[in-house]
């Protein structure tokens, strides 16, 4: 049993445990233990990874393991992690952990909820540990489909419509992706599905790359909320229950960026070079467009969803800059956005649970009655607009500095465009904070609200601590990621 497979095994065992549980208490026990184990595992993994690296292991991936699965297609169950995956695993563990606490009182059908939730986790963890194209795609889809039921059953508002839209659009993305993956496999000689080996072969003809790169990139881009395929995001996030929004915006959208980088760019560097400008424009639009879109919204979740479009756009944007710094920044932005957007959604869920509205026009002065949530919301907002010492800053700055190092003027001008998003972000964040957290209380019913209870505090505090930790001491995570993007970047600038 490979060490990494435990990450997939734990959620599987959680599902078994959930299946055997009879009441909410048992369910929560299973979930808490499982989520804590995952946290511990990712901490252990990080420690082991860093020790191994410090010991001078320079392999591209560590803790590799490989088992033949479907021999005729060269499908292997192969796992391995580098700094990027480790970072993503940490993120996933944090989000899953906090997600459990955020859905402490989920109703109805708690058992089913947690079952689907665990299935989703399987997909997420599997995606990040695998190095095999097929398995990666499989996990990717595993992570998608529970969304439908999670949103459809436990969601709010136009949940059925949103769930359907989200599922179909993401499946559309994965349809593009599948063609891309198969194309990669067959045009690289159909000898291996292993990412690293394909990259080493580096023999996909450029004219084939021209077809498969956009397909793959767009396929992952849909999940990464690439303009104009982002419209599932506002509706989906708005309707999803708290923990699902957290997991989806926090981790699932990262699958897009991670995949675009790991698969599309890594395996098809020539086409990436040729076509980057198209996607740079699209992502540039995403960044600014998402931010402007957020200004006009009145629903908290919509605001945050558009904000995610903007932030995730920045991830893809930075990846396409194809230099080490920008890419490192992109990965850090994934991490940072995951944390803060999860925090946002957690808080929005908690506020919604109390006020029963998410319309910013109907709320105000919550700081007075909900000081803990209020302060946390402000912190989340500050992280989102890139306040130094919070995670958003380090990520965005790395991206901006990195992108600006590009020697081409076009890229630098685009970077400046992207930089402008920090102001727009400030506008909508402050608009919300000023309206609902500060200001006078709008609704006199809100005066009787009670502040966060312990499990909510756990969820929120963990996220805030993580945001602060990353924002204040970015060095180790940045270097961990930085040295892991080198092989990919090396491929790209070869």
């Amino acid at each position: 049993m490979n060490f990494l497979s435990i990450f997939v095994l734990i959620p599987v065992l959680m599902m078994v445990g959930l299946f055997a549980s009879n009441n909410r208490k048992q369910l929560l026990t299973v979930m808490t233990i499982g989520a804590s184990l995952l946290m511990i595992m990712s901490a252990t993994l990080t420690y082991m990874y860093l020790t191994e690296r410090a010991a001078g292991n320079v392999a591209e991936m560590l803790f590799m393991a490989d088992t033949v699965w479907y021999a005729p297609f060269n499908i292997h169950y192969s796992v391995g992690v580098d700094g990027i995956s480790v970072a993503m695993l940490i993120l996933s563990s944090i989000i899953v952990f906090t997600g459990v606490f955020a859905s402490w009182k989920i109703d109805p059908l708690p058992k089913e909820f947690f079952l689907w939730f665990s299935l989703l986790s399987i997909g997420v963890y599997g995606f990040f540990i695998t190095t095999d194209l097929f398995t990666m795609f499989m996990y990717y889809e595993i992570a998608l489909i529970p969304m439908y039921l999670l949103i459809g059953i436990w969601g709010t508002g136009r949940k059925e419509y949103s769930a359907m839209k989200l599922t179909l659009m993401l499946m559309g993305g994965s349809a593009l992706l599948l063609v891309g993956i198969l194309g990669i496999y067959f045009s690289s000689g159909a000898t291996t599905m292993n990412l690293l080996e394909i990259a080493k072969l580096h023999n996909i003809p450029v004219e084939m790359q021209r077809y498969f790169f956009p397909l793959t990139f767009m396929g992952f881009g849909v999940l990464g909320a690439l303009f104009p395929f982002h419209t599932w995001s506002p509706d989906g996030h708005a309707s999803a229950p708290t923990a699902v929004s957290m997991l989806h915006a926090g981790v699932l959208m990262k699958l897009g960026g991670y995949g675009a980088f790991r698969v599309a760019m890594y395996l098809m560097p020539e086409a990436a070079h040729e076509m980057a400008w198209i996607f740079l424009i699209l992502t540039g639009i995403s960044v600014v467009y998402g931010a402007f879109g957020a200004i006009h919204q009145t629903d908290l979740k919509y605001i945050n969803a558009y904000s995610s479009v903007s932030h995730c756009g920045l991830v893809l944007f930075a990846i396409l800059m194809m230099n080490e710094t920008a890419t490192t920044g992109a990965i850090m932005q994934m991490l940072s956005h995951g944390l803060m957007t999860a925090l946002f959604f957690a808080l929005i869920g908690m506020i919604y649970g109390r006020t029963h509205t998410r319309d910013i026009r109907l709320m105000g002065g919550l700081m007075k009655v909900l000081p803990f949530l209020g302060v946390s919301y402000v912190i989340a907002g500050m992280a989102s607009l890139g306040l130094p010492s919070l995670s958003g800053f380090v990520a965005e700055m790395t991206i901006f500095v990195g992108s600006f190092q590009h020697t081409d003027t076009f890229h630098r001008v685009l970077t400046i465009t992207a930089v402008s998003s920090i102001v727009i972000t400030a506008v909508y964040i402050l608009k919300v904070v000023g309206k609902i957290i500060f200001g006078p209380i709008q609704d006199k019913h809100h005066e009787e609200l009670t502040d966060a209870v312990w499990y909510e505090r756990v969820a929120v505090s963990v996220l805030i601590v993580a945001i602060f930790a990353m924002g204040s001491a970015p060095f180790w995570i940045s270097s961990m990621i930085g040295e892991s993007v080198i092989p990919v970047i090396g491929q790209l600038i070869k």
Binding site: W69, Y70, A71, P72, F73, I75, F134, F137, M138, Y139, E141, I142, I145, Y148, L149, G152, I153, K159, E160, A163, M164, T167, L168, M171, G172, A175, L176, L178, V179, L182, G183, Y185, F186, A190, Y211
Partner: protein, 474 residues
């Protein structure tokens, strides 16, 4: 005249033995003994399935009229398993219907069609093939009209009969032209003769192949499918949709490669177009269906389109993927039909709206149904995902990128309508959902097998790899 060579046809003879035994038993058994007809039949059939599950070396019988290759054992086993599941699901119905007097006919007819499919699969000559085709379709018409006092079933029987006969007439005409242009109806000889793309041969091929398209129910030869599926008794429908179709796709693949291999330039575009049209049209129709049986009919048409992706590749990879796909399809579709049939038998409800809120009252059935639909839609980790992936791979391997792309876009539509059912069961609240449905032991067994199949087949690669051992096997 050495008849002993016939003994090599083990599958056929063992099936024939079961048939004859059951027929005689049905006719001559006492009223008391007849109670044991179904268990006995099931046991016998299971034994037949198990006995014939090991592939043997290739051989020929009757001067090449009957050709066996090991791959055929797999497809026959798949059909056996499917038939077994159908019989399990029909258990209760047969006991209840008409006080159970028509069990014997049901079994005999089903098994004779199965025998016909065996012949189609193993034939090495158009004559035997045509006999097999007819054996697989004429008794089927009687089966469709099994519930004959039901107007819908009668109507479905007639529709199936006339459509099938029309198709086989055209097919026969095609065969006659093939004979006319090649001078033989032996497959092995034809493959050698049919080298240059003579227009007559091409036309003959088209006339012939549409007969198979009809059986697979590909657009535009599919129009009978929903009507017949809707009207026929549910277990017959499931048999029709799974077994009949499964055998036909295998045969289509074999014939295209074995006989018409030299016309590949011609049949690939045909299949290309038919695949695209089938998947798309079926999906577009399915979106609107309110009756679940019709719904599954259109779904099965589009599934057939996906199977064509494996056929169009015409490679060993495609063959393996095809058999695998059929296997997975058997489990998935039969799970769906099993749920459908148990609910229909108890409550008489087959409309989509009736399924609203099913999860509240029948969580297990809803769960099985959901797994089945997810598998059909190709969602991991269920088996359907793997089978879809493999057929796509097989097609991409031969460079059919655009085709696969179109097929993949269609999966979105198909996902949409599968989700509609899931939505009804899980999301929509209902005032009066279907009450708790109790299924009998046989049905439970079949659903358990199906569920296991859906969950396990994909994750255990041994099955695919085992099929792949015989690669092409034509």
């Amino acid at each position: 005249m050495d008849y002993s060579s016939f003994l090599q046809m083990r599958e056929e003879f063992s099936l024939l033995g079961v048939m004859i035994f059951l027929l005689i038993f049905d006719i001559f058994a006492t009223e008391n003994a007849r109670k044991y007809f179904q268990p006995l039949a099931l046991v016998l059939f299971a034994a037949h399935t198990l006995l014939n599950i090991i592939p043997r070396d290739a051989f020929e019988v009757a001067g090449g009229m009957f050709q066996y290759v090991p791959m055929q054992t797999y497809i026959k086993s798949v059909l056996n398993v499917g038939t077994f599941l159908v019989l399990l699901q029909a258990h209760k119905y047969l006991n209840d219907f008409d006080k159970g007097i028509k069990k014997g006919e049901f079994y005999f007819l089903i098994l004779s069609t199965l025998l016909g499919m065996y012949l189609m699969i193993s034939s090495g000559n158009f004559l035997l093939f045509f006999i097999g085709l007819e054996t697989a379709s004429i008794p089927m018409a009687a089966l469709v009209a099994f519930d004959k006092n039901n107007r819908r079933a009668a109507e479905a029987g007639a529709k199936y009969m006339f459509s099938a006969v029309f198709a086989s007439s055209i097919s026969l005409f095609g065969i006659s032209l093939i004979y006319g242009s090649c001078g033989t109806v032996y497959f092995s000889d034809l493959a050698l003769i049919m080298t240059n793309a003579n227009p007559l041969q091409i036309m003959a091929f088209v006339f012939f192949v549409v007969g198979l398209f009809f059986k697979i129910s590909l657009v535009p030869f599919h129009l009978w499918t929903p009507d017949v599926y809707e009207g026929a008794q549910t277990n017959v429908t499931s048999y029709l949709s799974v077994i009949s179709k499964g055998s036909a796709v295998f045969v289509l693949f074999t014939l295209l490669v074995k006989v018409f291999g030299n016309l590949v330039e011609q049949w690939q575009p045909i299949l290309w177009v038919v695949t695209v049209v089938s998947i798309t049209v079926a999906n577009v129709f399915a979106v609107r269906q309110k009756n679940l049986k019709r719904f599954l009919a259109f779904s099965s048409i589009s599934q057939a389109g996906y199977i064509l992706l494996a056929i169009i590749s015409g490679t060993a990879l495609g063959m393996t993927s095809l058999v695998y796909y059929v296997l997975v399809y058997v489990f998935s579709n039969l799970a769906a039909f099993g749920v459908l049939s148990v609910i229909e038998q108890q409550s008489g409800k087959v409309q989509l709206d009736d399924y609203n809120g099913l999860y509240q009252t029948n969580p297990r059935l809803s769960f099985v149904m959901m797994l089945a639909l997810f598998s059909l839609a190709g969602i991991p980790p269920f088996a359907g995902f793997f089978s879809k992936f493999f057929v796509f791979s097989a097609a991409i391997d031969q460079g059919f990128y655009v085709l696969v792309f179109i097929a993949l876009l269609n999966t979105i539509i198909s996902l949409y309508y599968y989700l509609l059912v899931i939505k009804a069961m899980f999301l929509t609240k209902s005032e009066n959902p279907i009450e708790l449905v109790a299924s009998d032991g046989a049905m439970k067994l079949s659903l358990v097998i199906c569920t296991l199949g859906i969950m396990v087949i994909g994750l255990f690669s041994a099955i695919y790899n085992q099929i792949a051992v015989f690669g092409f096997g034509i």
